[in-house]
Each structure stands twice: as structure tokens, then as C-alpha cells.
């Protein structure tokens, strides 16, 4: 799309802040989330999970459980597809999902599903689950990324490695990435200062408050229905069909309201199990995960071990950069090491750059996407080194980043030339923000970091049906994870020229639209938004045709203005503007229902950059870090609903604060997760945080009719490094391992053993 076709001003709806359509339901308790649905005759399902990190499943004895009162069905791996086959790397992903949903020969991590049971009540199902006897042969395990790559480490699954993995590496290294350009060694030779450091980040969980829940029914005829909380119900449909040998179209999936996802609900865990139980019991089955199982068995993000080396001249010019990123994503391929690698140096215009990524398997749960998967860890390592370089060379951190910033036309560290991007604008806005000029109090430190995320388009279908009374029903297929129904309704209202309140946007089921990719990659406001605009324009074209027919003139001689068809051009003649409601009132007699639709895979998702400023205080007695001030500056392209954009900025920053300071998966020597609950896996609470200031920068994305860029994910990229830099500035010690929990801070300060 050419820039000149962009509409960036003169809006009536875009940029306003109307109430969200699901607001009243959500403040009154009426909104129906995953666990809020019931069905007549419904059973409750419970999943039996491995207590071992790595074990051969010798025998599963279900006889005692099956004999118990109220028990209606038991399933194991034998009740799932035998057609789905393993293959190296991500080519075997459907088999990986099957293996994760229900273990085959081996339990691969603490919490791995090995059997499931359905009974007439949740208590009966829980009691019966305890009566299922599983005989294990415990195997050696490994949960650390570096140890899993080392010689002699237990092999998770032989034959999983892709051919691209360099020879001689441990079989747990299953995928390899390499990209870059120039000659880094020559670049380092030009530098006045070269710093090389090693960093580690622990796995963190998306921490959505709503555990996974579903209600499924599947008959012996292969026809089924499923209700679940998911970020993508077409994907659930596809995966369940494959895992249960069903025809995709025979399974109708409805997405419930979703109580947070952040990437973690892009994956399928319990839905095929509920359907398998239902098929066996011939009754609907509901499964609701408990919190411990959410931590043990749904995907956290990858943990990492990273080496970053950057060279800089005295004037702040970066001469070269290299990075090696080792990511473990649990007992399956898929750790987002290519994203970690590609995002690492994306903010910088480098003549010489190289990044290498390793995907490593361990005995941990299968990692799932978490908000800009892979990028925050890379930013932590790279932006920490940039901060060290600035400190040692006496340079301003924002000026130095501006000096080296990626701009339109420069070559990205991972290959392509940048289109129109807004990094410089975020840096300039950060520099001009009062926060940056405010003097620090005694004991405080300030940190700055940039962050980058690609954003995504993806398969999208939208339909917009007009009602007789002139209102519009907008059907979208991307679950609303941040107020997107409001944004969609605003875009439709803008195009149709009718009030926002006259558009009802619904996330419809899989039977009602073509395939819609998951709500991920910050794609919804971009891709479903683009499709909404195009579907509305399709409806407008049809409205104009009805007016043209009524007036007896060419369709080309009618245009759409302020919600009315109006004659246009010299031969159109004189006609009163015909409002939308007047056309729809007669549509039954003038050609039938008027529906606009759009289906495509939009590929113009504009990338997004952010710059964060954070002030912190470190208590040298307790090691506790307090965030005293936080400012997010991010490019939104065009903010459709600015309040909801701010919400994405604030939410990402808060999750980043948790990741930086407290959150981590802690495994014992026995390979068991030791903190599978919100008491010990501590996400930020209200009293931990300050207000989070936001600045919305708008550098239009040429790939969207209004210039929209996705905003959901980039906000979690800068916090880890920005806080590490602030902590270093405040305390005088630099933490190279996350989280910067009080024990680690105290150890670094050397005040405690």
C-alpha cells in the first residue's frame, strides 16, 4: 500500500475513547469465561500428571478408578490419533503437541499429562484420579539450558535435531539459527572499547489469572462442539481434529471471554483431552486446570543463556556486535531462539553484526509464546552491554542510541532494509520527556532501554452484515484480548459513517467465518482492523450500488459521505443524500441482505520500537528493588483507542518489572517445579508498582489503511534491561542474571554470603 493512500487525519471515531462493548458484562460478573459454561448432563474431567521430570511409563492401571462410583470414562495416549507422526524440529509440531497433551512412552517433565478421567462431579473425578496407578521407571533428567548442551547430559529425544544443527553438538540441541552481515572481527578492531558479557534469564510464566478451561462434547459420529478460553479457536479446531482423527469442519469451536493469555493461550493443552473423554463417555466433559497445573504443565517462556559482544568508538559509534543465544523451551523443539537472535540488535544500524541461536531441549514443560517471544531476553543482554559502554565512555545513553539508531532505509541486523519505522521518534520523545530531565534523589538510579518486535499479519476473515434499522453486525474471528472489539467497531463506524454505538462487534465461532489465525503477534488491531475496514468498504460499495439503482445512474457516479450515498461527478444528476438506514430499510426488496466481507493474509504489519525510562531504588539491607518512576514511549503507528493503547503499554511494562525483579521458575535437584503457585511465583501486586506514564508516538505504518502498528508485545521488550541499568546505576552492581531478586542483589553487593 502506498503511503499516499494512508488516511492519518480527519477522523470522526479513530482516536476517541468510547466505552468497550463488553464493559458492562465484565463489571457485573455476567461475562462468560472458559470455566463459566455448563451443559446438561455434563461430566467433570481431571488430568493425572507425572510427578517425575523424566521417566519411562511402564504401566497405567486404571481398573480401580474405573470401578469407582460416578466414573464414566478414562483415557490414555491409546485414545488419541496414531496417524500423527514425529519428525525433526518444527516439522513434527503436531506430534509434539500430541505428545505434550498426553504422554506416550515417557513422561518428559514434572506435570506431564499421563491419563485423564471423567466423572459426575469434580470431587468424584479428583478422587478417582488418585486411584489411577502409574508405574514409572525414573530416568536421569536435566532442566538447565547450559547443562542440557553439555557432554553427558541425559538425551530428551534422539533424532529431534534438524540438519542445520552443527555437527558434534549434543542431541538436545535441536535447531540452529545464524544471521547477520559484514565482518564483526574487522568491526571490533575499529572499536575503542569492546565489552563482552554473559547473561542468563529464567523462564517466566504468562501468569494470566484465568486457568485454562474448556467444555467439549464429541459423539461417535465424529461431530463435536467445544467451548474454551483460547487466543485462537480455529487453531484449537485444527489441532483437536488432528489429534482425534476428526474432520476439521465437524468440530465447531467457540471462544469464551478470555481471562488473559499473553501468548500462553495460543497453545492447546486440555481441549483434546476433554473431547476424548466425551467421545468415550458420550456426554459433555468440562475440564478446568488448577493453578499448580497451569504453572507445571502450560508453557512458560524460554530460559536463556546469552553471550553478547559489542564494540564502540569514543564518540559512541557502534562498530560491530555479535551474540550467541541459547534458549531452552522444555522437552520439545520450539524455543524462540530465532526471534531472540533477530531482535537482539534490531534497534541498531550496524555495519558488522552476527547472531547465532540454539534451540535446546530439557525436562521442562513445552514453552509457549509469551508477549514478544524471545525478544525481551535479547534486549536484556544487548541493552545492558550498551549501557556499560555508555558508562565507561562517559556518553549519554539516549544520544548514543540515537547516533546508532535503525532508520528507514538502513539494513536490519537480520537482513532486510527497514521500511518506515519510529525508533528515532521514540528516543527523541524519551529525551524530551520531563522524566529524563528530573534530578534523581539520593540512592536512586535511572535506566534506559530500547526494544523491538516484528508484529504480524496472518490469515484473517471478517464479515459485516447490515441490519434493516441501519445498524451493523461485525463478525471477527480473533479473540478479544485487549479491547479489540471496541477498536474494530470504531473502524467500522468510521468507514460506514454511523455512530460507534450502532456497531456490534462479536468474536464468532469457527462455523461462522473462514480461518482466522490466532490473536498473537500483536496482529489483531492491525490485521482484523484492516479486514474490518475492507469489509466495511465492501458493504459501502454495495450500499452505493443500491442507491445508484434507485437513482438510475451508474454505480461509479455514487460516492459515500458521512453515512450517506451521494451523487458524484458531472453526470450523476441531483439527488438528495441517501442515508445508510434508508437503504437498509428497503434492502430485502432491492436485492437482499447487504453484507461486506474480506479475507486475506495481510503482510504489511509494521514493526514496532519502544524506549523506556525507569528510576529505581535498591535497599542495600534487604536487597529489595523499588521502581519509583516508569515511562513508556512507544510507536503505535496510529492509536485507534488511545486509552487501550496506554493499557497495553502499562501492562507490558508491569510484566517486565515482574520478570526483571521477582518471577522465575525454580526447579529442585529432583527436577520438580518448586514454586507452582502465585504465593511463591510472585507477579507484581498493586503495592509493588508506581503509576506507569505513557507516551504514544505515531509514525504511520504504510501497510494499514490508517497506519496502525500492533502495540501489544513491544512494551515487554525494554523493561528487563531498563531496570537492570537503573539497578546498576542505583546500587553500583550490575546483575547479569534475572530475576534481580533480593538474594541475588545481596550476593552481588557482597554484603551477605
Amino acid at each position: 500500500m502506498a503511503l499516499d493512500s494512508l488516511k492519518t487525519d480527519g477522523f470522526k471515531q479513530i482516536g476517541t475513547r468510547p466505552d468497550r462493548p463488553d464493559g458492562v458484562d465484565k463489571v457485573t460478573g455476567r461475562a462468560r469465561f472458559g470455566a463459566d459454561m455448563t451443559a446438561p448432563g455434563m461430566l467433570w474431567g481431571v488430568i493425572v500428571r507425572s510427578p517425575h521430570a523424566h521417566a519411562k511409563i511402564v504401566k497405567i492401571d486404571t481398573s480401580a478408578a474405573e470401578a469407582m462410583e460416578g466414573v464414566k470414562a478414562v483415557v490414555t495416549r491409546a485414545d488419541f490419533s496414531t496417524k500423527v507422526q514425529p519428525a525433526p524440529g518444527m516439522r513434527g509440531e503436531m506430534w509434539n503437541v500430541l505428545e505434550n497433551v498426553m504422554a506416550g512412552e515417557k513422561a518428559l517433565y514434572d506435570g506431564h499429562a499421563v491419563a485423564a478421567i471423567a466423572a459426575t462431579s469434580q470431587l468424584a473425578a479428583r478422587d478417582a484420579a488418585k486411584a489411577i496407578k502409574v508405574e514409572y521407571e525414573v530416568l536421569p533428567h536435566v532442566t538447565d539450558v547450559d547443562k542440557a548442551m553439555a557432554e553427558g547430559a541425559p538425551v530428551i529425544r534422539e533424532g529431534t535435531a534438524e540438519k542445520s544443527v552443527p555437527e558434534g553438538m549434543h542431541p538436545n540441541v535441536v535447531r540452529y539459527h545464524e544471521s547477520g552481515h559484514g565482518d564483526p572481527e574487522a568491526g571490533f578492531a575499529e572499536a575503542d572499547l569492546v565489552i563482552e558479557e554473559t547473561f542468563q534469564t529464567e523462564a517466566t510464566h504468562q501468569g494470566y489469572i484465568e486457568p485454562h478451561a474448556c467444555l467439549g462434547t464429541l459423539g461417535g459420529d465424529g461431530k463435536g462442539e467445544l467451548w474454551c478460553c483460547t487466543q485462537g479457536h480455529w487453531n484449537v479446531q485444527k489441532v483437536c481434529a488432528a489429534l482425534l482423527d476428526l474432520e476439521t469442519s465437524q468440530l465447531r469451536v467457540t471462544a469464551s471471554e478470555i481471562g488473559g493469555g499473553f501468548g500462553g493461550k495460543t497453545a492447546v493443552f486440555i481441549e483434546p483431552v476433554a473431547l476424548a473423554l466425551s467421545r468415550k463417555a458420550n456426554k459433555p466433559v468440562k475440564i478446568v486446570m488448577n493453578r499448580a497445573d497451569v504453572f507445571r504443565a502450560t508453557g512458560p517462556t524460554a530460559s536463556t543463556s546469552m553471550d553478547v559482544k559489542i564494540g564502540m568508538k569514543k564518540d559512541g559509534t557502534m562498530t560491530a556486535a555479535t551474540g550467541v543465544f541459547r534458549c531452552q523451551g522444555g522437552a520439545f523443539p520450539g524455543a524462540p531462539m530465532e526471534f531472540t537472535s533477530m531482535c537482539a540488535f534490531a534497534p541498531y544500524n550496524l555495519a558488522h553484526v552476527k547472531q547465532i541461536g540454539y534451540d535446546v531441549m530439557t525436562n521442562r514443560p513445552k514453552q509457549a509464546a509469551y508477549r514478544a517471544p524471545g525478544s525481551p531476553m535479547a534486549a536484556f543482554a544487548v541493552e545492558s552491554v550498551v549501557d556499560q559502554l555508555c558508562n565507561q565512555l562517559g556518553l549519554d545513553p539516549i544520544d548514543t542510541r540515537l547516533k546508532n539508531a535503525s532508520r528507514e532505509g538502513t539494513q536490519a541486523s537480520f537482513g532486510p532494509k527497514w521500511d518506515r519505522i519510529g525508533l528515532v521518534e521514540t528516543l527523541e520523545a524519551a529525551k524530551a520527556h520531563p522524566h529524563y530531565a528530573t534530578p534523581l534523589k539520593e540512592g536512586q538510579g535511572r535506566g534506559v532501554s530500547c526494544g523491538f518486535w516484528f508484529n504480524h499479519g496472518g490469515e484473517t476473515a471478517v464479515s459485516l452484515a447490515l441490519s434493516e434499522d441501519g445498524t451493523a453486525q461485525l463478525a471477527v474471528g480473533t479473540p478479544d484480548i485487549g479491547g479489540s472489539r471496541a477498536s474494530m467497531a470504531m473502524m467500522a463506524a468510521e468507514e460506514l459513517g454511523i455512530p460507534y454505538e450502532n456497531v456490534r462487534c462479536t468474536v464468532v465461532d469457527t462455523a461462522s467465518l473462514g480461518y482466522n489465525e490466532i490473536s498473537h503477534g500483536s496482529r489483531v488491531t492491525y490485521a482484523s482492523g484492516l479486514a474490518t475496514i475492507k469489509a466495511a468498504r465492501d458493504a459501502v460499495k454495495k450500499l452505493c450500488a443500491r442507491a445508484a439503482a434507485k437513482w438510475g445512474i451508474d454505480e461509479d457516479a455514487v460516492k459515500w459521505e458521512d453515512g450517506c450515498a451521494v451523487p458524484s461527478g458531472p453526470n450523476a444528476g441531483e439527488h438528495e443524500p441517501m442515508p445508510l438506514a434508508k437503504i437498509t430499510a428497503k434492502m430485502g426488496a432491492t436485492g437482499g441482505p447487504i453484507v461486506g466481507h474480506f479475507e486475506a493474509t495481510p503482510e504489511g504489519a509494521g514493526v514496532s520500537f519502544a524506549t523506556h525510562i525507569v528510576d529505581s531504588e535498591v535497599d542495600k539491607e534487604t536487597g529489595k528493588t523499588t521502581i519509583t518512576r516508569y515511562t513508556v514511549v512507544q510507536d503505535a503507528g496510529k492509536a485507534i483507542h488511545p486509552t487501550y493503547v496506554e493499557g497495553q503499554y502499562q501492562g507490558g511494562a508491569a510484566q517486565g518489572i515482574g520478570w526483571a525483579l521477582n518471577e522465575e521458575y525454580i526447579y529442585g535437584e529432583d527436577g520438580r517445579l518448586q514454586n507452582a503457585g502465585f504465593l511463591d511465583y510472585r507477579i507484581p501486586v498493586a503495592s509493588d508498582l508506581p503509576m506507569i506514564d505513557t507516551v504514544i508516538v505515531e509514525v504511520p505504518n504504510p501497510g494499514h489503511p490508517y497506519g496502525v502498528r500492533g502495540v501489544g508485545e513491544t512494551s515487554i521488550c525494554p523493561p528487563l534491561a531498563a531496570i537492570a541499568n537503573a539497578v546498576s546505576n542505583a546500587s553500583g552492581v550490575r546483575l547479569k542474571q534475572l530475576p534481580m531478586s533480593p538474594p541475588r542483589i545481596l550476593k552481588a553487593l557482597g554484603t551477605h554470603d
Binding site: G23, V27, T28, Y208, G259, F262, A653, Q655, S687, M691
Partner: protein, 159 residues
Amino acid sequence: MSKVHVTTSINGDPVEFLCDPRETVLDVLRDRLGLTGAKEGCGTGDCGACSVTVDGRLVCSCLMLGAEAEGKEIGTVEGIATEEALHPLQKKFIEYAALQCGVCTPGILVAAKNLLEREPDPTEEQVRYWLAGNLCRCTGYDKIIRAVMDTAAEMREAS
């Protein structure tokens, strides 16, 4: 196992139910009485999504047995709005975008309303500490705190 017969009051209405002695108030509300406004986020009293009031006191309903509701007055999110109108907190939460996914919202509204009944003029710090038992993963709390503070100011003016 034989069930327990319980007579209680929920949002001002008399209610009787039978429950297993192991069931929590949250189980009873959601699975026996169809009051699914209170959510189970953890089942261990750590997240506050199941917050209700019991005789005016803020309680995690996942930590109280159904049998213990005998003779008590229970308040849930479903009882916050009147027949005529939303409570000022509910209006402000929508206006401020103090909710994103909305799953923590019922618990936060029950807790915030309980705070304003005790302290009509709370400081930001008081609001933050009162709500520290209610986890929200979406918002970073900024808009929630602002919505509660502004509601308090508006309710003080109106009274």
C-alpha cells in the same frame, strides 16, 4: 458422603443449598448456584479473583467452606449493581479502562467497594495496599488505582 444443608443469604436474597463438606463457598456459588461472577484464579487465596464479602468482611471464597456460610450474609459481584444502575465503581472501571481481560475485575470491584465503605477518602498508598491481594496481570494497576481514587472523590462529593 452425605451432604450438608446450609441456609444463608446471598446479595440480600435467602438461599438454601446442599453441599459436600469439602466444597468451598466458591464451588457452591459457581457450580451449585450459577453465580459465576466470582472466579477461581488459584484456589489458594493468593489471587483474590474469588473475593466476596461475608458479613461485610472481605474474604477469598476459595478459602471458606460452603458449610461455613450457614447463617451468614454473603455479597458477590452480582450484587454490586442495583436494578436501576451500575455502582459508581463499575462505571468508572469501564470509563478508565481499569479492566482489560476482566477476569480479576469481579474480585477487585468487591474489594474496592469494601474499601470505600470503610474509608471514603483513601490515599493512593491505601488503595494499593488494600488491593494488593487482588492480582491483575493485564493493566499494571495504574488505571485501576485511578478509577478507585476518582470514584471515591465523586462519591464524597455526592454524599
